[in-house]
């Protein structure tokens, strides 16, 4: 049972490194932001699984909630900034 979650955390770490290609090589700015959001979403799951391995899930759940809120606010802020910035550019 313990061993299953350790293997799962290793597999999740491999999965997290895949969207890093889109962050580094993405053709547009939006692709980079999307890849960063994907990495943050998967990191939440990794934190939870590691908390279950350590038997301290009650502490790691609060960290996960804070990280989820940070990810959401950051993505919304970047999207709003890009929208208003390009709108002001198009008027000129």
């Amino acid at each position: 049972m313990e061993k299953y979650f350790i293997y799962l955390s290793v597999i999740l770490t491999v999965i997290i490194f895949i969207p890093l290609y889109r962050v580094l090589m993405g053709p547009t700015l939006f692709d980079r932001v999307l890849g960063a959001g994907a990495i943050a979403t998967k990191t939440m799951v990794l934190i939870l699984v590691i908390g279950l391995v350590f038997n301290r899930l009650d502490m790691f759940i609060d960290i996960t909630m804070a990280y989820a809120i940070l990810n959401f606010i950051g993505n919304i802020a970047i999207a709003k900034y890009l929208a208003t910035r390009t709108r002001g550019y198009k008027k000129e």
Partner: protein, 121 residues
């Protein structure tokens, strides 16, 4: 009790499979909008499935406060991850970033055109 844990492990494996599919779609699909589709749907389903499996594991041990917090996280992720992707796609459609069609499949330098347009702004 053992059967419940096996069911939880199966749900967690299914969620990891969906996360893998979402990651592969994020690097293999041809367009920003289709990549946003991969990230907004497949990743959300995978995260919700994995946290559901953890919730079943915690319920089998009788830890009800952790289960309630995990339920809150499931609801939060299911609400906010598609919302963030939708806001980003709206900003990209306003940019304007042209979608990919099958008729310009043979144009090799389409990504480079988008790249120059980004650098102009």
């Amino acid at each position: 009790m053992e059967l419940v844990l096996i069911l939880a492990d199966f749900i967690i494996s299914l969620g990891a499979f969906f996360l893998l599919v979402g990651s592969i779609g994020l690097i293999r699909l041809p367009d920003f909008y289709s990549r946003a589709h991969a990230q907004g749907k497949a990743d959300t389903l995978g995260v919700m499935l994995i946290i559901t499996g953890l919730l079943i594991t915690e319920l089998a041990q009788g830890l009800f406060i952790n289960s309630a917090k995990l339920l809150i996280i499931i609801a939060f992720v299911g609400l906010t991850n598609p919302t963030a992707t939708n806001a980003l796609v709206g900003a990209a459609f306003h940019f304007p970033l042209t979608p990919w069609f099958k008729k310009d499949q043979n144009k090799k330098n389409k990504d480079q055109n988008i790249n120059t347009k980004e650098e102009e702004v």
